[in-house]
């Protein structure tokens, strides 16, 4: 099946999964605004929102099965997009499922909290598809504006409001950089289409080289803020701590995956011709992010902050893929986000399951002796922690995720050996905090008073999220080929187009 994107009907057809999310979101927004707020209404709208995700996922799988392709146009139709879409939709369904129980407990009544997740996801899916800088900008903003609101969704919590204002101000600030970068790239090349930019950059048909390089640098800063690379990570811990826990999981997994998908596509498809000039910057960003994220995580005791710094470290690992700057990298990236999303949702699922109203006990030491009262939750948490660490067998797919990233670094045209070594060394450092969580749960005696480990019933939706993530993680740890055949399939690789020298620079 091949789409001709110059015809509007075919363009709409190629965007079916994204449009389903948008229309579903608008209908649900009307439904949730129609009537009084109540717990039942919130749960009903949430369930319907999960249904919208499933319908959209069915279309994504269908397009994947028929190997849909498209000619050049403003959006991409390839395997890379579909796999990222599936990860995003799974993360969305997980967020809403965790939100059903979490919102009930915390008394967050507005049903719009689930609808906004749907809107943010439609922006992310657009971002995964974008093959034009205009679409990249619109996708990022559609995603960010919805997530700013979601961060501040718990209106009674001062932390939530503080997280929202920090995220909003820094997010808008970074958008400014991204946008100015886009403007300068447009100025240098005369187009916003990634394909055309790629051709013109490779053929050196640009108006002004300093303008292009400044543009690339500013876009790097803009994307760096969005995916929380050090030194642009300062907002992340506060925002992750302040946001409602399901939204924290959503930001750590889905927002990061979507922003990285666009990041990789822009840099590998459009700026591949300039690799020598941006490679050093990306190399250092990856190195600093891995070191800073892991070292500060060692010092964190709050479980949400710990996972926030761990997510910064993982952004560094993923950036190694970009630093290797080649096709194999994009399939390593796809495998990585699947494993990372599953592990993140498992871990945050346990945090939601053990939380109490107002979330007073989030210190890692409050999990002491969890094994004796909640054996299954402790086992799931341990699997997710080992997966984030990259431990073989017990850590499930996490090991292979890091394995493929290291492989893509070592087999690059210019092998990134030092970066691969740094990745392994920082992973060893990360054992210091991941293993500490496991150790506390299994080896320390249970505290007597008021700890989170008091047995309480866990909501059905939360249980499903934790169970499914853990089981799929372990399954992929034994049979990684089930996923590898997908991520290495046709259309999974991002490649720069071959330059066509005949074209002339626009006036």
């Amino acid at each position: 099946m091949a789409f001709d994107l110059s015809q509007s009907m075919q363009l709409i057809a190629a965007l079916t999964p994204d449009i389903i999310m948008m229309v579903g979101g608008m209908v649900l927004m009307l439904v949730s605004a129609w009537g009084t707020e109540s717990v039942e209404r919130q749960r009903r709208v949430g369930t319907a929102a999960i249904g919208v995700c499933i319908v959209s996922a069915v279309f994504v799988v269908y397009f994947m099965a028929v190997h849909a392709t498209a000619g050049s146009g403003v959006i991409a139709v390839d395997n890379f997009r579909w796999i990222v879409d599936l990860v995003l939709l799974a993360a969305t369904a997980g967020t809403i499922a965790l939100g059903l129980d979490y919102n009930t407990r915390e008394g967050i009544l507005p049903a719009e909290s689930h609808v906004l997740v749907i809107f943010a996801t439609s922006g992310m899916m657009i971002l995964a598809a974008a093959r034009d800088l205009t679409i990249v900008f619109l996708g990022i903003e559609l995603m960010s504006i919805a997530v700013y609101i979601l961060t501040g969704m718990n209106r009674r919590s001062e932390k939530s409001a503080e997280g929202a204002i920090k995220y909003f101000l820094l997010g808008a600030f970074s958008t400014g950089f991204l946008l100015y970068g886009i403007a300068l790239v447009y100025g240098a090349t005369g187009t916003t289409s990634l394909t055309l930019i790629g051709e013109r950059v490779a053929a050196h048909q640009i108006m002004s080289a300093p303008m292009l390089l400044t543009g690339i640098g500013l876009m790097l800063i803009g994307f760096g803020f969005k995916v929380a690379l050090a030194p642009f990570h300062m907002w992340a811990p506060d925002v992750y701590e302040g946001a409602p826990t399901p939204i924290t999981a959503y930001m750590a997994a889905a927002v990061k995956a979507a922003a990285f998908a666009a990041f990789l596509r822009v840099f590998l498809e459009a700026f591949a011709g300039e690799i020598p000039s941006w490679h050093v910057a990306v190399w250092w960003l990856a190195a600093i992010t891995m070191v800073v994220g892991n070292l500060i995580a060692l010092a964190s005791k709050d479980i949400k902050r710990l996972l926030a710094y761990s997510s910064i470290a993982h952004a560094g690992y993923i950036l190694v893929v970009l630093a290797s700057g080649q096709a194999l990298g994009s399939s390593a990236f796809l495998f990585y986000i699947v494993a990372y999303t599953l592990a993140t949702f498992g871990a945050f699922g346990v945090v939601v399951a053990l939380g109490q109203s107002g979330e007073p006990y989030l210190n890692v030491d409050d999990y002491a002796g969890l094994w004796t009262v909640r054996p299954w939750l402790s086992v799931s948490m341990a699997v997710c922690m080992l997966s984030l660490l990259g431990f073989p067998i017990f850590g499930g797919a996490g090991f292979f995720a890091k394995w493929y990233v290291i492989q893509s670094a070592l087999y690059a045209p210019e092998p990134q050996t030092r970066l691969a070594v740094l990745l392994v060394l920082t992973s060893v450092i990360s054992a210091g905090y991941y293993m500490y969580v496991v150790l506390v749960m299994f080896m320390k005696p249970r505290r007597e008073v008021n700890t989170v480990s008091d047995p309480r019933s866990v909501g059905a939706a939360t249980r499903w999220v934790i169970g499914l993530s853990t089981v799929i993680l372990l399954f992929l740890g034994v049979y990684p080929n089930a996923l590898v055949s997908l991520t290495q399939g046709k259309g999974s690789y991002l490649r720069a187009p071959t330059p066509q020298v005949s074209q002339v620079v626009p006036r």
Binding site: F137, G152, A161, Y180, I182, Y186, E241
Partner: protein, 97 residues
């Protein structure tokens, strides 16, 4: 003409960035961000004289998004004001960062 317009928009952008980094009032920071976005708009309009309509269409998108962002941003600023009775970021520090 192009060089002057691009220079002016670069200066406006830098003023916006410096404002965000030095001021501590949430509303003034937000105004500086808007200044950055408008500097970008000026760049696009100046460039579209050379490249055609593409840049001007982008400006319309930027203005739409900036309006949506302003609506959400002011709502967030109001919600923090209800908690702290201030919009000064020096006083908004329940969390460590």
């Amino acid at each position: 003409m192009l060089a002057e317009s691009l220079g002016l928009s670069a200066i406006l952008f830098v003023i916006g960035v410096v404002g965000v980094l030095t001021r501590r009032n949430a509303i003034i920071i937000f105004m500086c961000v808007e200044l950055m976005l408008n500097a970008v708009n000026l760049t696009f309009v100046a460039l579209s004289r050379y490249y055609g309509m593409g840049g001007q269409v982008f400006v319309l998108f930027v203005m739409t998004v900036a309006a949506a962002e302003a609506a959400v941003g002011l709502a967030i600023i109001i919600s923090i004001f209800r908690h702290r009775q201030t919009v000064d970021l020096r006083n908004i520090n329940v969390m460590k960062g």
